[in-house]
């Protein structure tokens, strides 16, 4: 039950893109086509779940025992950058088909602030899901990360669908490109606010 609440909360109520503003760059950058948006989302789900697992272990078994929590930012970004490289190499070896589909998006993910953002969030914030505010344990953290990435994917694909239609619409010149995309995203965020209070 708790896991279902975490998933609903992360995908709809606290959508990482539309409510927390993490990962806005790829949201605006690679959301012109539904297929690219879906590819990027797939890569993000994959990397975010693994990255959060590794940084969680790193935080609780390396940084805290050594008493160097202030090194969190440096350590996490290095762990994530290394991890993305590793995922890329392993994927190329064991599943060329998946590598073909996700490959070009993987290098972009290192600088996707959603990955670092979620990794820091799960070890620093208390969540009030299913009872009193508490720190998430390892399984919950990974579920939260995967669900956040899924929320990212849902928003990306929805938005890409809208933008494909938007290309055909007759938009005033000053609104073309990013401005109209932002305003559309605002309306999408407005509709996502309807989920508030669900969990």
């Amino acid at each position: 039950m708790e896991y279902i609440l975490i998933i609903i909360s992360a995908v709809f109520v606290n959508n990482i893109l539309l409510a927390q503003f993490l990962g806005t760059c790829p949201f605006l950058g690679v959301s012109n086509k539904v297929s690219t948006a879906a590819g990027m989302s797939g890569a993000v789900i994959f990397v975010m779940a693994i990255a959060t697992l590794v940084t969680y272990l790193f935080q609780y078994y390396v940084l805290i025992p050594l008493g160097i929590e202030f090194m969190q930012t440096v350590a996490f970004i290095l762990v994530i950058a290394g991890l993305v490289q590793m995922v890329e190499i392993i994927l190329k070896k064991i599943s060329p088909a998946l590598y073909q589909a996700l490959g070009i998006f993987l290098p972009l993910i290192t600088t996707n602030c959603a990955v670092l953002g979620v990794a820091i969030l799960v070890v620093s914030k208390e969540f009030a899901i299913g009872g009193d505010p508490h720190m998430l344990n390892m399984a919950q953290s990974v579920v939260y990360a995967a669900a956040s990435a899924l929320g990212f994917g849902v928003a990306m694909v929805l938005f890409a669908g809208i933008r494909e239609q938007l290309d055909l619409a007759n938009v005033p010149k000053a609104f073309k490109g990013t401005p109209i995309a932002l305003i559309t995203a605002g309306i999408l965020a407005l509709s996502f606010m309807g989920f508030a209070g669900l969990v």
């Binding site: 539309l18 993490l22 760059c25 600088t111 820091i120 010149k173 000053a174 609104f175 995309a181 407005l190």
Partner: protein
């Protein structure tokens, strides 16, 4: 390019948010009020300037293949310094800006300037460039924050302008997207009028 234009180019011509559309996450996430936007802008200015200085100093010694990881580590180190300073001197602001302070590491503006400018230019020019772009970013964030605060809570820099509540939606997430979208429309209009 003269030293003065290095400082001012970030404000209009190469404005990082409105023209280059970089660093969207903090622009949307931290501008719930004018003061928060201003604070986030200054924090980024600090990191941008210091990382530009460090990178322009070491750029010649760093082999080309590993330059990006080296730059990221340097930037992360500067961000850590900033985190410790803010925890000590402005704990309230640090708490409000929250996750967006460590996320300066992955702000594309910082790495973008490191790669495009600081790695190729002298220390003094890079310092000026960092300050210039940082000022532009601070200005944009303050503008977005002011408009959102004005519409959302009917005040500016925490000073109540009238006895009204304002439209809450502008302080919440959707308002961020919509306000930024309309500011860009205005920018485009102004640019096409000038040229």
């Amino acid at each position: 390019m003269s030293k003065l234009s290095l400082l001012t180019k970030g404000i209009i011509k190469e404005n990082p948010t409105f023209v280059l559309v970089l660093g969207m996450c903090p622009t949307l996430g931290t501008t719930t009020s004018a003061f928060n936007g201003f604070g986030m802008g200054l924090a980024t200015l600090f990191v941008l300037t210091l990382s530009n200085v460090l990178i322009s100093l070491v750029a010649k010694q760093v082999p080309d293949k590993v330059r990006i990881p080296v730059y990221i580590v340097l930037i992360a180190a500067v961000v850590t310094v900033l985190q410790l300073l803010m925890q000590a001197f402005t704990p309230a602001l640090y708490a409000t800006l929250g996750i967006f302070i460590p996320l300066i590491v992955v702000n594309c503006i910082v790495l973008g300037r490191a790669e495009a400018y600081a790695s190729k230019n002298s220390v003094i020019d890079s310092t000026m460039d960092g300050i210039g772009i940082g000022l532009g970013f601070t200005l944009s964030l303050t503008v977005v924050g002011t408009i959102r605060e004005l519409l959302g809570s009917a005040s500016i820099f925490g000073i109540k302008l009238m006895d009204a509540d304002g439209m809450l939606v502008f302080v919440l997430a959707p308002g961020a997207f919509i306000v930024l979208g309309y500011i860009m429309v205005l920018f485009n209009k102004l640019k096409s009028r000038i040229s």
